[in-house]
Amino acid sequence: MSDAVETVRELTERDYEWGFVTPVEEETVPPGLDEDVIRLISRKKEEPAWLTEWRLEAFRRWRRMEEPRWARVHYPPIDYQAISYFAAPKQKERPKSLDDIDPEIRRTYEKLGIPIREQEILAGVAVDYVFDSVSVATTFKKKLEELGIIFCSISEAVRDHPELVRRYLGSVVPPGDNFYAALNSAVFSDGSFVYVPPGVRCPMELSTYFRINAAGTGQFERTLIIADRGSYVSYLEGCTAPMRDENQLHAAVVELIALDEAEIKYSTVQNWYPGDREGRGGIYNFVTKRGLCKGVRSKISWTQVETGSAITWKYPSCVLQGDESVGEFYSVALTNNFQQADTGTKMIHIGRHTRSRIVSKGIAAGRSQNTYRGLVRILRGAEGARNHTQCDSLLIGDRCGAHTVPYIEVKNPSARVEHEATTSKLSEAQLFYCRARGIPLEDAVALVVNGFCREVMDELPMEFAVEARKLLGISLEGSVG
């Protein structure tokens, strides 16, 4: 094993490639949070009074709430008054065309391998770029408009489609849902908004790329996706941040609403800066993601590949309200060095004959701790509900931990709930087999780990899957050897 451990170590300890800082002039508000700061954010964004009030109400609730302590993660107390709640690259106004974007920001995305240029964007993916707190560009807007699809930053949506935003914002994740959701509701700065009209199948992947750049800030984006009757949309989310010794807070909220027979597929590749080998720095990723299958036969599918962040606290969930609606959760969570992840899902079965499927693959290396936490709740009226959960953990080395915490609550006797779980260690025999065929140790680790995650990787859209596969290999560099 010694050799294998050494390689996973080399693999895992390779430097974070995305850790650079972009030298743009940023406008930030001073650290601290009170009602004046919230009014300031709301004013800067030229928001209507109802939204300012909505934020303030969330803030008042947040002040009475306590940080959740039940997750298996440990970190020093966060001083919420030391964080700046708004950062934006200085620019007179939102660029009219892609050519107006600050060249430095453009270069940032090029370095990240995602050029902001429509013609070069991966085989027809429309992208919204969020740099620190604000959206800097959205591509392919025209083409989508022709189909009646709205894809823009949430700030624009507030301005241009207030009726939709007002109706759905907070309808799935209410402002008082939890500590971080309340904080987000009070201070969210930007994020993406999608509306797909009835019967429209969105012809391209919609994507948002989140980048934290400024120091001493938090990122609080808010995403709202509505798929109207019989529509379909696939949405991708990617994220990176510079390497900093301090911990930065990311507390996003994502709400999905699927009406009758609509389908939403939401994929994330989360690669926030994980901190260094000693566990210094890194992003605290405290995110609330929830989808409501509101209509009959609607479907929401979450796929996540989580490799970054110092701490991940995240449970993308489905509320299966419509009869025969379907919820899916496919997850790969990889932790290395001192990373901690407590992630999983909630499947709430309300409607009749609702179905859910959970596939979770946890990989722990270094001294990391990796927890799957999941809830399957079958309510009384959920006649004939079905759930299948499969939860596999892979350990690399002998200083990491994998934990599985499944909760199952069944109130309807006709329900069928299945839970399977396995835990295994990265096998020396498998690595030797690969190497004896000429595959170098690092590639062998990536190959075996990717095989372990295959069911989840297969759920990712093609362009993303290639990226995610490479990322798993890179994130494990140095963990064996």
Partner: protein, 251 residues
């Protein structure tokens, strides 16, 4: 100079000496067989040559094509042209047989400074090899060795041998658990690869395989040493007399 030269090799595992002063030389163009009873150290020898880490070489040296084999990583040995058809091939869930083999082909090419093999060329070669060893197309798409029968796993090792075309191949009890048809298919594949530049070391319990892959030399291994070497007729003699006389000699 022989392709593979083993001198006074001593190997321990878990504090127990398993190979105890073994000498062996296999020249290019020859097929050598090692026969011996269970526990004589045959498989240990195969693993040590391929670079498995669970063993400690306490003494001796091994030269492969003039290089110090024991100083090389397993993947370097593979790149140098060494191949081990394993007795117990491992399963790699989620990695298809075809994908794995293509990764291997291209890893070897990369190590040798050659360009990647074109997918079409690879598939052609793979299908030909599959026909030769009698592997169904469906098995090529399945996860590597997962839910393969014992015989299918062995045939699959030989499939890899055919596709990778190593300079030197070690077959570790490839015949065990094979029916006569599979045995013939394996022999056909190996015999097709025989040539003046290539060497083979065939490890087996039984003489049966050696009727189909006729060796140039046969070595008897008992308690970690070669106790007798001879021509192909030695295999037949062993089949008739068993290992008993050699065990007595060794004791």
């Amino acid at each position: 100079m022989a392709m593979l030269e083993i001198e006074n090799l001593h190997v321990t595992a878990d504090g127990k000496e398993i190979v105890r002063g073994l000498d062996l030389a296999v020249p290019a163009g020859e097929v050598h067989a090692i026969m011996g009873p269970n526990g004589s150290g045959k498989s240990t020898l195969a693993y040590v040559l391929a670079g498995r880490e669970d063993y400690e070489v306490t003494e001796g040296r091994v030269r492969f094509l003039g290089r110090d084999l024991l100083a090389m990583e397993p993947e370097e040995r593979a790149a140098a042209g060494l191949f081990l058809a394993m007795q117990y091939p491992v399963e790699i869930p989620g990695v298809s047989n075809t994908y794995f083999l293509r990764q291997a082909v291209n890893a070897l090419r990369k190590a040798r400074g050659e360009p990647e093999m074109k997918p079409a060329e690879f598939m052609k070669r793979l299908r030909e090899a599959a026909r030769t060893v009698g592997i169904r197309e469906e098995l090529l798409r399945r996860d590597l060795n997962a839910d393969f029968s014992g015989g299918e796993k062995k045939r699959n090792e030989i499939l890899q041998l055919l596709v990778l075309e190593p300079a030197f191949a070690i077959l570790d009890e490839t015949d065990s658990g094979l029916d006569i048809d599979a045995l013939k298919a394996v022999a056909r594949a190996v015999n097709g690869l025989r040539g003046p530049e290539r060497g083979f070391l065939v490890i087996t319990h039984y003489q049966r395989l050696l009727e189909f892959i006729v060796p140039d030399r046969v070595h008897v291994m008992v308690e970690g040493r070669i106790v007798r070497s001879g021509g192909k007729e030695l295999a037949r003699e062993l089949e008739e007399r068993g290992y008993e006389p050699f065990l007595r000699e060794a004791a």
